[in-house]
């Protein structure tokens, strides 16, 4: 495993609260939540750059395109 680097992250109280809630809900550390968010951001960005589209699907299977990133 490559050596990890440390950084200081400045978050607003609301952002920190959201991070803490996600970490609690997902039973992950805050670092793991942010790491997963970065992986998803990069994955989605790469696929959009390749011309793919991202959809959210409601339970009735009506699709709506969402704009991300």
């Amino acid at each position: 495993m490559a050596a990890k680097k440390t950084m200081t992250l400045n978050l607003s109280p609301a952002e920190m609260l959201a991070l803490e809630r996600l970490a609690e809900q997902k039973e992950l550390s805050k670092t793991a939540v942010l790491r997963q968010a970065l992986r998803l951001y990069q994955l989605i960005d790469a696929r959009l750059a390749d011309g793919e589209k991202l959809f959210f699907e409601d339970p009735e299977e009506k699709k709506a395109q969402v704009m991300v990133l």
Binding site: M1, A2, Q25, K26, E27, A32, R39, L40, Q42
Partner: protein, 206 residues
């Protein structure tokens, strides 16, 4: 790329032999492996068809190509794992560590590691080779996937879609729960999931 020594079965001697588990393969490693695997896989499949093997005895993954999957490793969400012995890759696995959540209670909504592809080298595959060279490759790769899930904080949770020929392996050996046919899977494959509890059981027995 980090590595550790593990043991696999040498069918030639009936004993075990040391192998190297690589847990961060790069794209080049997949390309190099496919150079050796691809022609062997296709030739073995061609031989089976020529000898009149019925369709359900022909390997369902004969068309896989690790070179085409190699570009996924340029993304942080993917991870390549391989087992090397005698200078050759004996098994490969691709993992996705973001973007998939558990569907089974009590883990619903929690992150898991998804396994898009896992394959033993064609010369280790019973469906392709009457006298496989090495064994235990699939189970060692699966164990590595569980350990990645643990290290990521996902508590051993895994998910995958299985080819019909591999369903029994995941259900009976790997302790995964069969969640049924997934209508949203492009190949309409069955979805299997390993819960946190089942992963603990699996590791105790591995």
């Amino acid at each position: 790329m980090s590595e550790q020594t593990i043991q696999i079965i040498d069918h030639g001697t009936g004993g075990v032999v040391d192998a190297i588990l690589h847990d961060e393969l790069d794209a080049l490693a997949l390309i190099e492996a496919e150079k050796a695997w691809g022609p062997y896989r296709i030739e073995a499949t061609r031989r089976l068809i020529k000898n009149g093997a019925p369709p359900d005895e022909q390997p369902q993954h004969w068309h896989w190509n690790w070179e085409k999957k190699s570009s996924d490793l340029n993304l942080l969400a993917y991870r390549g794992i391989g087992i090397e012995c005698e200078g050759h890759m004996q098994g490969l696995m691709l993992l996705r560590t973001a973007g998939t959540i558990a569907t089974l209670n009590p883990d619903v909504g929690k992150s898991l590691v998804y396994v898009p592809y896992i394959e033993s080298a064609p010369w280790n595959t019973k469906a392709l080779e009457p006298h496989p060279r090495f064994g235990g490759i699939g189970i060692r790769l699966f164990e590595a996937a569980v350990r990645v899930s643990m290290a990521e904080g996902y508590k051993g949770r895994l998910g995958l879609h299985s080819l019909p020929q591999a369903e029994r392996f995941y259900r009976d050996i790997c302790k995964m729960q069969d969640c049924g046919l997934d209508a949203k899977n492009p190949e309409n494959l069955r979805y299997f999931e390993l819960t946190h509890d089942a992963s603990s059981t699996f590791l105790k027995e591995a």
